[in-house]
Symmetry: C2
Subunit: 496 residues, 2 copies
């Protein structure tokens, strides 16, 4: 039996029945929408997919009529624009996500390309399996961030589709909707159905369900969508804020002895000034050249992440990199408290917005790893939130590397004594004193907590495609050279 059989049963709603339900649904939808806007705890993400000619557009237009259009944002995801094509596949969806308190409707979504890869490009079926995994993780993350996700599949049988396209063509006002493309797709109806069936089945989940809508009868289709939407929305609004699920067992590493990645570092490594000057000059030229290679500027980009203890020398190391680059090709993002627009989006949104186009560098001075460092330690997010962050971060970085972006991550380590020396130095220097805050002293008191969090981070997010580089930072010259060398090497390796 096919998944879509249940949507070929000939569901119908009479005009009278429709009229009887219409007003009630309309009122409930509006009311739910205002409750959502008043207490913007979560966003609603609605995907409209399915068969051509099934009336997706009509249905969404009607929902817009019934609701307050100021709180709905409809996204027609057609062909990607130039700016979108220069970035990872998911970037365009991230930039269109609705903020909490509002509804985002997507025509065309992260499902469009996986289907076309199979039907039009005849890609290997293992690619589909890979895409399914990506989608599951992406939607899981959205749901964990609080999104209410509803995915509608508008279904028509093949015969019904043919009839519908012909009807649309005959009518003067609707003929424009049917182009050659629609007829071509109709020829491929069976192929589309097979792929869609696999995709829909694999990506139906309690937190992001597919709702299959028999679309032959306009009134039935409309009621079904409106009723599904309003019930889900009401149910969610009536649920008290979910308590985060505490994991059954600690998921982070714990070592049985005192040997850790951090403690194995030899922080006495150093470089003398004349040697440093020589090597730095060479590296500067090398990096500058790499950034200008057409193989790089047309196909690659760099995301560099700098994390480290306070006063570890992140800023200085970053400056040594930017000196070799053209100011038109890089951005340095200093990550502090999120803005209020950022707070209304999933955690990673504020980083996605800075992902560079091809040929460009984005250098993050602190990054998404704040989730598993400061937010974990200070309790700015729940345990469940930072525990799931490890996987989300790995997915995020995998998405970047898959699109040709090099993800180069540095942990700059210093020891407690060296930090104290630098704090005192900063206190005394008029040009550096701005750098030292009360918070730095507070963080210092939590040194041991941080060591554990850092270790967990290194263990759980050090991947083959986006590895961490541990940098011995007590000696700044040594550290800067190691950073530059690592970056050059990563670029060279990727350009081979």
């Amino acid at each position: 039996m096919s998944l879509f059989d249940s949507a070929e049963l000939g569901h119908k709603v009479s005009k009278a029945d429709f009229a009887a339900r219409e007003e009630e649904l309309h009122e409930r939808l509006l009311k739910a929408q205002y409750r959502l806007a008043e207490k913007p705890d979560f966003p609603v993400i609605i995907l409209c997919s399915g068969v051509d000619g099934a009336g997706k557009g009509d249905t969404v237009n009607l929902l817009n009529e019934w609701m307050d259009p100021r709180l709905i944002q409809t996204n027609a995801m057609g062909a990607a624009t130039e700016e979108e094509r220069a970035r990872p596949r998911l970037w365009r969806f991230w930039r269109s996500l609705p903020p909490r308190g509002t509804i985002g409707v997507f025509f065309g979504s992260w499902y469009t390309r996986p289907v076309n890869e199979q039907v039009l490009e005849k890609s290997d079926p293992t690619l589909l399996a890979h895409r399914i995994g990506e989608i599951q993780r992406f939607e899981h993350m959205l749901a964990d961030e609080g999104a209410l996700i509803l995915k509608f599949w508008f279904h028509l049988s093949k015969a019904e589709q043919e009839k519908r396209l012909k009807d649309l063509e005959k009518e003067k006002h609707t003929a424009w909707q049917v182009t050659e493309k629609e007829w071509e797709n109709h020829q491929r109806y069976d192929d589309y159905r097979d792929v869609a069936e696999e995709l829909v089945r694999a990506t139906s989940a309690a937190f992001a369900p597919w709702i299959i809508v028999e679309s032959t009868d306009k009134r039935y289709r409309t009621l079904k969508v409106a009723e599904s939407l309003v019930s889900s929305l009401e149910a969610r609004l009536d649920t008290p804020k979910r308590a985060p699920i505490t994991p059954a067992a600690p998921v982070v590493s714990s070592s049985m002895d005192d040997v850790t990645l951090l403690s194995s570092l030899d922080l006495s490594k150093n470089l003398e000034k004349p040697k440093y000057k020589n090597r730095y000059a060479d590296l500067q030229a090398r990096l500058g050249k790499l950034g200008r290679l057409p193989e790089f500027s047309q196909e690659k980009a760099v995301v560099a992440v700098f994390e480290g203890h306070d006063a570890a020398g992140k800023g200085g190391a970053i400056r040594r990199i930017t000196r070799s680059l053209d100011a038109r090709h890089y951005r340095v993002i200093r990550v502090g408290a999120p803005t209020d627009e950022e707070k209304r989006q999933p955690y990673l949104w504020r980083f996605w917005r800075h992902i560079p186009p091809r040929g460009h560098f984005t250098i993050f001075d602190r990054s998404w790893y704040g989730r598993v460092l400061v937010e974990r330690i200070e309790g700015f997010c729940s345990e469940a939130d930072w525990l799931r962050a490890y996987d989300e971060i790995n997915d995020f970085e995998a998405e970047l590397t898959a699109s040709g972006i090099l993800v180069v991550k540095f942990w700059i380590a210093i020891d407690k004594e060296e930090q104290l020396r630098r704090f005192k130095d900063r206190e005394q220097s008029p040009l550096k004193s701005y750098k030292l805050t009360e918070e730095d002293w507070r963080n210092r008191h939590k040194w041991d907590d941080y060591q554990q969090a850092i270790e967990d981070m290194l263990v759980r997010t050090g991947t083959r495609t986006a590895p961490w580089t541990l940098v011995e930072g007590n000696d700044k010259y040594y550290a800067r050279v190691k950073v530059m060398e690592t970056l050059c090497h990563a670029m060279e390796a990727s350009l081979k």
Copy 2:
């Protein structure tokens, strides 16, 4: 004598002199930058223009070295992207403006196109005069919003340019910088100089000065730019927040009798329900069709503005429009308090970000007119701020209409009695009570103040290209039909 003669004097700085100044400038720049970031009162906008090969890129790279690159954003404004080409000319500059507390450097700017129009496209010189006016008003607005604007013109004589290009070509590391385009531009050196001279002369103003930099000697060039930047920045940081200039004479209209635009409205106008239904159905079809015409979707866009007393029926009128449109082609923007990202930008930035691409509608439920209505009355901005807003708004709308966007503005008027009736009605209806707030009652007490502000607004911002339509709103049916009819008519007129 040419404007650029002063930049062909053979200025030079010796290596020793440069070394002596370098450290001091570096420190002062960094310090000024941190003072700016700490108290983000204003943004710094730096334009880099001038002759090819004069070292603009090198200079900016050096400034980035000397300063904290996390607080500088360098914008290479090359050819416009697809998303940019679909919108008014200034949109791309608005979206790249630096937030207060940071520095934005522009390579290529709002000067690039006006120069090329003359030199490459051989446009009529009156167009240049027109562009100069646009630029003056735009920069004036930026300065009034607090921006510190510095415009550097990097100059080389023709002979010097030739020598420079040849030198760059010879050197292995820099040969890539010289393409055919640079040599073609060199052939047109005299044309470029003549246009640039006119443009630079006309747009030099105390609030946005041009600084002409003789660029033959690298050290001189660098010191000149760094010194100009740091002195301006320090001077501005040391200036206590400027008191807004109170105008000498009231600039708003005052009428000698009681006859006003608003009082001349016949609010008893009405339409019976059956008649309304008929006419609305016709208008709905007419609007739907207009939105799908290729002449519209490929060349035009609509910005519709709804203003009116509280409870005047803005929301209802907007909904009657959106019902005729495809949800994929419009956005409704409800204008409330600005977000914190919006607060760090010039006042109009939050509206520019929603300007639609071709074929799309943006409908503003309240708008930039808040500046001269609620902000004026509640004292949310200074008198000087709202007084200058009239001109800024006219410029803004002129920019939109010049790019093919129809700007259609509605004032929906009701009288005080009708408002009271509707407030009471809202109090009683469970579905409408969310619409009535304390603020609505407070605003009602200021009815007369608002009448004056509205009248001033209508008089000063009713332009031929972006006219106001006054809508008699006591009868909702009448009002909705008038709104729809006006919109259809405006679209038809523009498509002729």
